[in-house]
């Protein structure tokens, strides 16, 4: 395990949390880009880093109890998928801006989504990865295209201009994640495909 993972997990979580508190809160209140493309991904990344850093320790303590419920990463992917879809709904993005309780729920659940995603991804065979990413990434790309192209303001909390920028960002993010996944796949497959990896 890399030594920087633990501090990275803590720093990412603190930065993401700081964006919900003064003096940084106006950033996510006024810009959909800061909210959906900076804070939300940071939370997911912080959760994933925490999984990478602490899962081996926690796994030993639990004697493999949790992984048994997450065979092939199925439940972990499903949890992450549900949480991410939930926080992409415009009405709920608005709620997180207006209601502190909803914002707290968002912070906890997206961090958890990152953790679940990491735990699932390390266990999932290629077919399961393809199933969930093949659904999740196009969903994100579609939402990005829609936000960038519609004349309707979908979030009452944000201006149309902010929405268009966030839409373009979501599209870029979904394409970027797809590329990262494909590159990782190619590197992993240098040893040749086996039935177990697929």
């Amino acid at each position: 395990m890399k030594a920087w993972l633990k501090p990275a997990a803590v720093v990412l979580a603190l930065v993401a949390l700081a964006l919900s508190l003064p003096p940084l809160r106006p950033l996510i209140e006024q810009s959909m880009v800061w909210h959906m493309l900076v804070q939300m991904p940071l939370l997911v990344l912080a959760g994933a880093c925490a999984g990478l850093a602490w899962a081996p320790v926690a796994g030993a303590a639990l004697k493999g109890g949790v992984p048994r419920w997450n065979r092939f990463g199925l439940s972990g992917y499903m949890l992450a998928q549900c949480l991410l879809a939930y926080w992409m709904i415009p009405a709920l993005v608005d709620r997180a801006v207006v209601l502190p309780a909803a914002d707290a729920a968002k912070i906890i659940s997206l961090w958890l989504a990152g953790l679940a995603l990491q735990q699932a991804h390390t266990r999932a065979p290629l077919a399961v990865q393809l199933f969930f990413l093949g659904y999740g990434l196009p969903m994100m790309a579609w939402l990005g295209l829609y936000l960038a192209s519609t004349d309707l303001r979908l979030c009452n909390a944000y201006s149309l201009e902010s929405q268009i920028n966030a839409g373009r960002g979501l599209l870029a993010l979904s394409v970027g994640l797809g590329v990262v996944w494909a590159v990782a796949l190619v590197r992993r497959s240098r040893g040749g495909w086996t039935a177990a990896t697929i």
């Binding site: 992984p67 549900c82 709904i89 009405a91 608005d94 207006v98 979908l154 201009e161």
Partner: protein, 219 residues
């Protein structure tokens, strides 16, 4: 769930994982179903309109000022002569969205006159920028919009401290935009003489709003 702790290799012992995955999926769908009013409303604006259509919301009372400088209670003004009001929210410096809204209201004004509904339906524009929009600004706006006195009125809050409560009660969110402008959710709000907000319609639904208002006024 009754997952037996079998070996963690191969496809044995998947029952627990399957059960949990299904449970997570159902819980996720339930949460999204709940948050979107049964999958019918994915934006705050649709949720707001559905809620008002289901149960009318009482409009709070504020001291408002009109273009002649007369101060009056909003509820008293609404009760006025028993007309149903179509209400919109504006700020008079607006160059963008409110102009579209202003055009819609001008067309509504023409329609009210054409259909002879002056006694049943009134138009009300309320400013959410009470610092800038004092009576002279309101009078200028009324001139620019060619408001017919009595048929279409423009108001501002007497006290800036009521602004938050006014916007919250109608569910309006105002977002600062470049060049000192504002962006806000624009809609047509139907308010009864009893001060009940009974329907919210989109600005592209003006004919329907007028028909509904006329129907509400003659029960």
């Amino acid at each position: 769930m009754n997952a037996s702790p079998r070996s963690a290799s191969g496809t044995e012992g998947l029952a627990g994982t399957f059960a949990l995955t299904l449970g997570v999926l159902l819980a996720g769908l339930a949460a999204i179903f709940h948050a979107t009013a049964g999958g019918t409303a994915f934006t705050t604006e649709t949720l707001r309109r559905n809620q008002v259509a289901q149960a009318a919301v009482p409009v709070p009372d504020f001291q408002v000022v009109d273009s002649s400088g007369r101060v009056q209670g909003l509820r008293e003004l609404l009760a006025g002569d028993g007309r149903v009001w179509i209400v919109d929210f504006v700020y008079t410096r607006c160059q963008t969205l409110c102009l579209a809204l202003g055009t819609v209201f001008q067309q509504l004004q023409d329609q009210i006159e054409a259909q002879g509904l002056q006694g049943q339906v009134g138009l009300l524009s309320i400013s959410f920028d009470p610092l800038q929009d004092r009576p002279p600004a309101l009078a200028d706006y009324a001139r620019r919009m060619r408001m017919q006195p009595g048929l279409w009125r423009v108001l501002s809050l007497q006290s800036e401290s009521d602004r938050r409560r006014l916007l919250d009660s109608f569910g309006i969110m105002v977002v600062p935009a470049p060049l000192g402008e504002f962006e806000h959710n624009a809609a047509l709000h139907l308010v009864t003489p009893q001060g009940q907000l009974v329907r919210i319609l989109g600005i592209d639904e003006a004919p329907r709003a007028l028909a509904l208002a006329a129907k509400l006024a003659t029960p």
